[in-house]
C-alpha cells in the first residue's frame, strides 16, 4: 500500500462529501431516530427520519466522525430521502457489495458518488466507518417511533 492506495480510499468525491455533507443537521420534526457508535475510533452519529405512509420523506444526520463515515452518511441520506422504507434493504445490499468486492457494478438507487467507496476494500479496519450510518439508519427504521 502506498499513497496511491490512500488516494483510492480518500477519493476526492469522498473528501468533498466529508467536508460539506448533505442532509447534515437535526430535523425539526422526525418520526424515527437512532444513535450509532463505533467504539474503535469514536465515530458517533445520530440519524433522523421523518416517515409518512411508508415513505422516508425527510432524512438527516449529525455526527462527530471521520471522513469515511461522514461521506457515507451524506451519500446514504441523500439516496434514501423520498424512497419507500422497504427499499432500504436493497440499497444496503448494493452498498455492501461495493465495500466487499469493490464491484464496479451498477448503482441502481445510489448516486454514482458511492463508487468512491470501492477503495475501502484495502482498508479492512475502515469498513465499519463506512457502515456505521447504514446500521444506524436500519436501527432507526426498526426501533424508532412508529409512523
Amino acid at each position: 500500500m502506498s499513497e496511491g492506495n490512500l488516494q483510492d480510499l480518500y477519493q476526492s468525491i469522498l473528501i468533498q462529501h466529508s467536508k460539506s455533507p448533505l442532509h447534515y443537521g437535526k430535523l425539526e420534526v422526525f418520526t424515527h431516530f437512532s444513535e450509532g457508535y463505533n467504539p474503535l475510533c469514536g465515530d458517533a452519529i445520530s440519524v433522523y427520519l421523518s416517515v409518512k405512509q411508508g415513505t422516508i420523506e425527510k432524512a438527516s444526520f449529525e455526527s462527530a466522525s471521520c471522513a469515511i463515515c461522514t461521506a457515507s452518511a451524506s451519500i446514504l441520506l441523500k439516496a434514501i430521502e423520498g424512497t419507500k422504507k422497504e427499499s432500504f434493504t436493497s440499497i444496503q445490499n448494493e452498498f455492501s457489495q461495493i465495500l466487499e468486492d469493490g464491484s464496479k457494478g451498477q448503482t441502481d438507487t445510489l448516486s454514482p458518488d458511492v463508487l468512491a467507496f470501492q477503495g475501502i476494500k484495502q482498508f479492512p479496519s475502515r469498513r465499519n466507518c463506512a457502515l456505521l450510518p447504514w446500521t444506524t439508519l436500519k436501527e432507526a427504521l426498526d426501533s424508532g417511533i412508529k409512523d
Binding site: S2, E3, N5, L6, C41, G42, A64, C66, F123, R126
Partner: protein
C-alpha cells in the same frame, strides 16, 4: 549518550517494512516490541525445555519450575519487593485489577464504603470497580482531571476520607502521558489508612519502579508492554494484603488438599496461581527484565524525554493541531487532535507512510469525554525510537494537512 542504534538492532521488527515503508512504530503504549533475547528464550524453551511446572520430579520439569520461580525472585528484586511471595504471575493488568477488585468486593468493601479512582483511568481500572461497587453497595468516587491533564490534587484530598477503602490510581496515563505524583498520593492515603493500588501498565516501561520506596500496597504490570511476551503480567501486593484476599481462580496448583468434604488452599503466592500458568511467557518476562537491567535506564529515560520534547515542539508548530495533555510531568506519550481531521483519518494517513500510531479513545472514554473529544491520535515512544521517527511523524502530519484540507 544513549546509543539508540545499538538498541534498535536488538529488536528485529524495527527493521521490517509496513506498507512498503520502513516501519516507524509509535504505538508502544498499546504494546511494546520484543528484543531478540526474549524471542529466543521462548523459542529455546519450547525446543529444549518445555514441561509443566510444580509437579514433575523429572529433570525437565525441575528446570522449568526453577526458572519460573527464579523469575519471581528476579521480578521481586527488579521492583524491590520485600518478599518473592509478593509477586503473583497473572495474565496482565486487567486480570490483576479484576483479582484485587473481586477480592476486595468479597472481603473488604461494605455498603456505603468508597473506592477512589481518577478521571484518567483506563477502563481496566474503572469497570472492575463499578462492578465491585454494584455488588457491595459501595460508591465509586472519581478524582477530576484538570485542563492540562494533571490530577486535581485538592479535589483528591477532599475526596479521601475514612470511608475510602482503596485508592486505585494510574501511575502514568496511557492517553495523556501524565505522570501522577503517586508517592505523595500514597502518603496522603496512608495517613488515613487507605491502601493504594497503582496501575503500572505504562510506568514500568518508562521508569524504574521501587515498590518499597513508593510504599504502595499493590502495583500491577503487563508483560507485553514491558518488552515481554503477551499473556503474562505481574501483580505485586504487600504480604498482609495478599494474605487477606481470598483466592481468585481455583483449581490445580493453588490447593493444599482437595476433598469433597472441603478444600484447603496454599499460602501466597500459590493461592493466586490456579492452573497451568503461561510458563513460556514467564520465561520471556525473565529475559525482558534482564534486558532492561543491562540498559542504562537513566540514559534511556533521558532519551525518551528528548523524543517527547522534540515531538511536542514539532507538533505544536502545526496549525490546527491541538495537544491533549500538557501536564508538566509527562512520559513519552503524546496525544493530539486536529480541528478538521478526525483522528481515525490521521491514523490511516500515517499508516500509509509506515508510521504506526493509535487513534481512538485508548480505553479511557470518560477521560476523552472530559476533554470533549471523541478520539485522539496518540504517538508513544519507547527507548528504541529515534529522532528520525519523530521527524517522520511531524513531516507526515504536515503532508497530511494538504492531503485532506
Amino acid at each position: 549518550m544513549f546509543n539508540v542504534q545499538s538498541v534498535r538492532d536488538d529488536f528485529p521488527i524495527l527493521s521490517t517494512l509496513m506498507n512498503d515503508k520502513p516501519l516507524i512504530y509509535l504505538d508502544n503504549a498499546a504494546t511494546s516490541q520484543k528484543p531478540l533475547t526474549v524471542i529466543k528464550a521462548v523459542e529455546d524453551f519450547y525446543k529444549t525445555s518445555n514441561s509443566n511446572i510444580h509437579r514433575g520430579v523429572f529433570r525437565l520439569s525441575e528446570l522449568a519450575t526453577a526458572r519460573y520461580e527464579a523469575t519471581r525472585k528476579q521480578f521481586s528484586e527488579f521492583i524491590s519487593a520485600e518478599k518473592d511471595s509478593e509477586i503473583i504471575f497473572v495474565k496482565g493488568v486487567t486480570e490483576a485489577i479484576n483479582l484485587i477488585a473481586s477480592g476486595f468486593a468479597q472481603t473488604i468493601i461494605k455498603e456505603g464504603d468508597e473506592i477512589l479512582i481518577s478521571g484518567m483511568e483506563h477502563h481496566a481500572n474503572i469497570v472492575p470497580w463499578q462492578i465491585a461497587c454494584e455488588q457491595t453497595g459501595a460508591i465509586l468516587k472519581v478524582i477530576p482531571v484538570l485542563d492540562d491533564g494533571s490530577l486535581d490534587l485538592l479535589a483528591f484530598e477532599a475526596l479521601l476520607s475514612e470511608k475510602t477503602k482503596l485508592l486505585s490510581i494510574v501511575h502514568i496515563s496511557n492517553s495523556l502521558g501524565t505522570i501522577n505524583p503517586i508517592k505523595l498520593m500514597i502518603d496522603k492515603a496512608h495517613a488515613l489508612d487507605v491502601p493504594v493500588l497503582v496501575d503500572g501498565a505504562q510506568s514500568a516501561p518508562h521508569m524504574e519502579v521501587d515498590v518499597r520506596d513508593l510504599d504502595c500496597d499493590f502495583y500491577v504490570f503487563s508483560g507485553h508492554k514491558l518488552f515481554a511476551p503477551t499473556g503474562v503480567g505481574v501483580l505485586y501486593g504487600k504480604e498482609k494484603w495478599l494474605e487477606q484476599l481470598p483466592p481468585y481462580q481455583s483449581g490445580g496448583d493453588m490447593i493444599e488438599k482437595v476433598d469433597f468434604d472441603g478444600t484447603t488452599f496454599k499460602g501466597i503466592p500459590g493461592k493466586f496461581e490456579a492452573g497451568t500458568p503461561n510458563i513460556a511467557g514467564v520465561i520471556g518476562l525473565s529475559e525482558a527484565i534482564q534486558y532492561l537491567q543491562k540498559l542504562d535506564r537513566a540514559k534511556a529515560m533521558a532519551h525518551e524525554i528528548s523524543l517527547l520534547d522534540q515531538a511536542t515542539e514539532g507538533l505544536s508548530k502545526i496549525d490546527g493541531l491541538r495537544l491533549i495533555g500538557t501536564a508538566k510531568d509527562k512520559a513519552s506519550i503524546i496525544s493530539f487532535v486536529f480541528d478538521a481531521i478526525h483522528a481515525h483519518d490521521v491514523g490511516t494517513f500515517l499508516d500509509a507512510a509506515g508510521i504506526a500510531i493509535r487513534t481512538g479513545h485508548h480505553c479511557t472514554m470518560p477521560l476523552l469525554k472530559s476533554f470533549n473529544v471523541p478520539a485522539t491520535a496518540r504517538a508513544s515512544f519507547a527507548f528504541y525510537n529515534n529522532s528520525n521517527d519523530v521527524d517522520c511523524l511531524v513531516e507526515s502530519l504536515k503532508k497530511m494537512k494538504s492531503f485532506f484540507l
